[in-house]
Assembly symmetry: C2
Homo-oligomer: 443 residues x 2
């Protein structure tokens, strides 16, 4: 089956895809691309040259390009370290003014490197675009990206706009940042605002895998993955893309591709993973991937007096203490009493204990014992095919049972099943599930 | 004599100077101060804390303060090094975008440090003020500093505006820089725009000396120096203040003080050198200082055919080649021929030779020989008192003659006499002149 035949590409892009130009016609205008390079991809002047080479190749194909750059690897840590050294409870407005310097440097160097390659390029800082955000410093949300300034420069002959990622400007005219990994979000937002044909995220991994290759040798790179699956995988600890960037791409139908700065190939030939709409997915595996998260803990409230509103009485204080409760299970222990078990990130256990003991002291809840187990892990199978296929859960539990792995807690969503197990079985569980769903083979 | 009695301080400052508040009256409003800290004064978070302590002390005295900061020492070199590594003939607009990052970091860290000391402070980047400049990137001139934004924040209770020095914004909305040492100029421009009572330049030396203390042990710090004298000293190689900043201070009558970040004392008690109007000078020495410049060369065109227009024929091509000719002397050698001698920076000798030999080849000038001597130095005496005192030149030549030092070339201005001598005698000449004019004693 010809892969591009069902792509949502406009006719001008289709000619480009096949390399065939319609005879006797003017070369069609190439659509704009967004290319984002992470910190490890621009970590030195040499690496910036390598990244710029990829941009120049797209320009040679006829594209205008918006390049989004992160700070050189290590630079944001260095700057935020100086802020922390200066002030423990720092003013987030000044933090943003300081750390945004890293992206400004890379943007200028990238523009210079492209100019050296005879590619007309210039740098743009967030306030120059302007990339308008809320005033929530260090965690600002993008409000608006007026395209006029950059579009005018493209019209004047500029081929590449190099934009400092991660930063914007507040309604008060102060510099904001979007939170860690915010450059992914910057890239997707530009792709949406400019109607880019594609948003390529260059990083130090070459795509999204069926599972962690360090755990399962059968892990296979996915050619395509649906937005919804990527969202589940992103929030499950596959740190390839910032969750917000995937949400944004899904909302605005941005074709998002994750690929390696260090692999060969470019343009449409480059290998990587395309994150796209469900209907653009080609593979038919019911399960797309197996994710895992090591930093999980389980807490059990033993013999809670069961009454209407008890769940609110327990989880209200936890929420108030900033504890991110994930999975919840309730077992009837004896008449009128219940055991309540939930999972949470390991480092939030002390906070959770404090909040629950306080609630007991205050007389809001009553339990016999509070048990924390920090030696657990979460393993999940994710797949959009689960919507239309039954039996996934049964096959998952069977595979774990065959390895003698006990399941402590289960949660499910429409496209995901997660289980909490002893941490020592985590790798074994990932391998068993990867095998059970045949993920080493393309579907 | 009471030193402050002839100061141009407004009444409110005079009460402050004497530490006496008029009885039964409301404490007068303190005038605004500008304090500028150079790279060595903000080279680490610890040093920034030390500098912030000086600012906090002025705030405690009741002043609003505008602080101008340089990049941490070494940072501008690091950033400009990356630019040069990226591109030999770089786009100055991108250079400015990159190197301005250094001052942005320091401004944010200084604001945070002041906040830690409970001083309401915030940072301002050049474009936020805005500090409007020409579009001459990397050597931009300040056009205008609207005071509205910062004044409004002072009115809301901000006590310190920390401004990133060295940078501004062009009419096209791009970041500009003012050239090396531009933070001095930023500071003086803010002092002029805001009508500051004083502009304190904190650096790693504690003021302006009668001569280089490394050469003459009798070198003495001047309490006051006139703008004109400072200008002559600045352009003669006493690298304390950027020449442009002194010009600007003179034009706008900004009280400029140079002092050390590392010395004790602050406020009006701090020792340093005040650069001020001639009539504010208290010392009566005819000569204020002895300057020297080591990087001088002398070139002689031997036996040039003398004719009307010959000077233009020689110095036109030199100017065209970007050679900065300083001193010029012409000796009649024989009938119809002349020797022409001039001084120039050592590193411009090859360029000058090439230009002159080309002019000879082109038939525009005719000379027998071209001799370059790179083993010369320039020594100058500077003093505003020379305007009204005669005999300074005679005393200078006598002192050099007594040491057996031969004078090669002489130039004079209204307040300066410079001589070119063999470089090996430079230190001896400086010491002899320092003694001859009695500079070890205050006048």
């Amino acid at each position: 089956m010809h892969r591009f035949s069902i792509c949502l590409a406009p006719p001008s892009l289709r000619a480009y895809d096949t390399g065939v130009e319609p005879a006797g016609r003017k070369k069609p205008t190439m659509p704009l691309l967004v290319m984002k390079f992470g910190g490890t991809s621009v970590g030195s002047p040499d690496l910036i040259r390598r990244a710029a080479g990829r941009v120049a190749a797209e320009v040679a194909r006829g594209h205008d390009v918006i390049v989004i750059v992160s700070a050189m690897s290590g630079e944001t840590d260095r700057l935020s370290g100086m802020v922390s050294e200066t002030s423990a409870l720092f003013d987030a407005r000044e933090y943003d003014a300081v750390v945004s310097a890293g992206e400004n440097v890379t943007a200028g160097l990238m523009a210079l490197t492209l100019q050296e390659m005879d590619v007309p390029a210039r740098s743009w800082q967030g306030w120059q675009v302007p990339l308008n955000t809320t005033s929530a410093h260090s965690a600002a949300r993008i409000e608006d990206i007026p395209t006029g300034n950059i579009t005018a420069k493209f019209a004047e002959g500029m081929k590449v706009a190099v934009v400092a990622g991660f930063q914007g400007v507040s309604p008060e005219g102060r510099i904001t940042t979007l939170g860690r990994g915010g450059s992914d979000t910057t890239a997707v937002a530009f792709a949406a605002a400019f109607g880019a044909a594609r948003c390529d995220i260059y990083t130090d991994v070459d795509g999204v895998y069926t599972t962690d290759p360090r755990i399962s040798s059968g892990a296979r790179r996915l050619n395509r993955i649906a937005f919804e699956e990527m969202l589940e995988l992103a929030s499950l600890g596959a740190r390839v893309l910032q969750t917000r960037s995937v949400e944004l791409a899904m909302r605005y139908k941005v074709k998002l591709r994750v690929l390696s700065s260090f692999a060969d190939g470019d343009g449409d030939e480059a290998t990587g993973t395309l994150v796209c709409d469900e209907e653009e997915r080609m593979e038919s595996n019911v399960v797309s991937g197996v994710a895992h998260s090591r930093d999980e803990a389980q807490m059990t409230l033993v013999s809670v007096a069961d009454r209407p509103g008890i769940a609110a009485a327990i989880f209200g204080p936890l929420s108030g203490a900033g504890v991110n409760v994930d999975m919840i299970v309730q077992n009837i222990a004896e008449e009128g009493r219940t055991d309540m078990t939930f999972s949470l990130p390991t480092d939030q256990v002390p906070r959770a204990e404090k909040a629950l003991r306080q609630a007991k002291t205050d007389g809001n809840i009553n339990f016999h014992d509070l048990i924390a187990d920090v030696n657990v892990a979460k393993v999940s199978v994710v797949g959009i095919g689960m919507r239309s296929h039954t039996g996934v859960a049964a096959r998952m539990f069977e595979a774990l049972h065959a390895e003698g792995i006990n399941i402590k807690v289960i949660t499910t969503s429409e496209i995901k099943i997660s289980v909490l197990i002893d941490r020592k079985y985590m790798e074994l569980a990932v391998q068993a599930l990867h095998d059970a769903f045949g993920l080493e083979k393309a579907g």
